[in-house]
Subunit: 145 residues, 2 copies
């Protein structure tokens, strides 16, 4: 019998693989139609598959090649039909950044929340962010874990 | 019998009440000793009660009076011993902002993840953030839901 934690691990692995390959259909198959998404960039909140799909495609287009995405410090909690995971991502290759920053990459915080329905786990909520300097109003992209 | 969702609602209500009142002991009683916290400001990640307590006290000190904190669009999922909730907070009264911005407040995204152990629900992970403009490197504090 596969543990619930392993099922979430598989889902998260598929999520990162689909992001790297910019495979939008494979990626969206992991999200609930009623997904509520808090992304690094505006708006404050995205609701529903259509909005989240458009946002992923916008993000994919910021990379010339595949997306360099690593997962670190993954922690999963699961019970019954609800699970959550938090992790750090190292994101490399974004063409909107300086060459140096793009190569070095930057660290993101990622929280992924899942629910099981009809024996299928889907992501129903996701929250990705960067810390900011409140006083200067600047985004902090050089922080390391 | 109280539903698990209601128990989480009570916990979240206590959390906001304790924040408003700047009651650090009451607030910390809701968090697991092994809490992993992603806050709006650096560092990338806070781990453990001591670091999270210091960070809350730092935040409390940014307000002359009580903290103006409202919860909107709350959504809770709970099953067995795991639960997560996402919501928006309207945060008013921060003395580090312009008088106008402080009065108007700003919107934050908030994800709170809980686990039950020995019949007690505690927050084991929390993620709070503001969206940013990736190209200009600016924090966006005027977004509305």
């Amino acid at each position: 019998m596969v543990s619930v934690g392993s099922e979430i691990e598989v889902l998260l692995d598929r999520r990162v693989q689909a992001c790297r390959a910019k495979d939008i259909d494979r990626l969206m198959s992991l999200y609930s139609p009623s997904i509520v998404y808090f992304d690094v960039v505006p708006p404050l909140r995205l609701t529903g598959s259509d909005a989240v799909r458009d946002n992923f495609v916008r993000w994919f287009n910021e990379y010339d090649g595949p997306i360099g995405l690593e997962t670190h410090d993954l922690n999963i909690a699961a019970s019954g039909d609800v699970a959550f995971a938090h992790m750090l991502h190292l994101d490399k290759g974004n063409a909107n950044l300086s060459e140096q920053q793009s190569k070095r990459g930057f660290w993101l915080r990622s929280t992924v929340c899942c629910q099981r329905s009809n024996n299928e786990w889907l992501i129903t909520h996701e929250h990705i962010s960067l810390p900011v300097d409140f006083r200067t109003g600047a985004v902090l992209m050089d922080l390391v874990p």
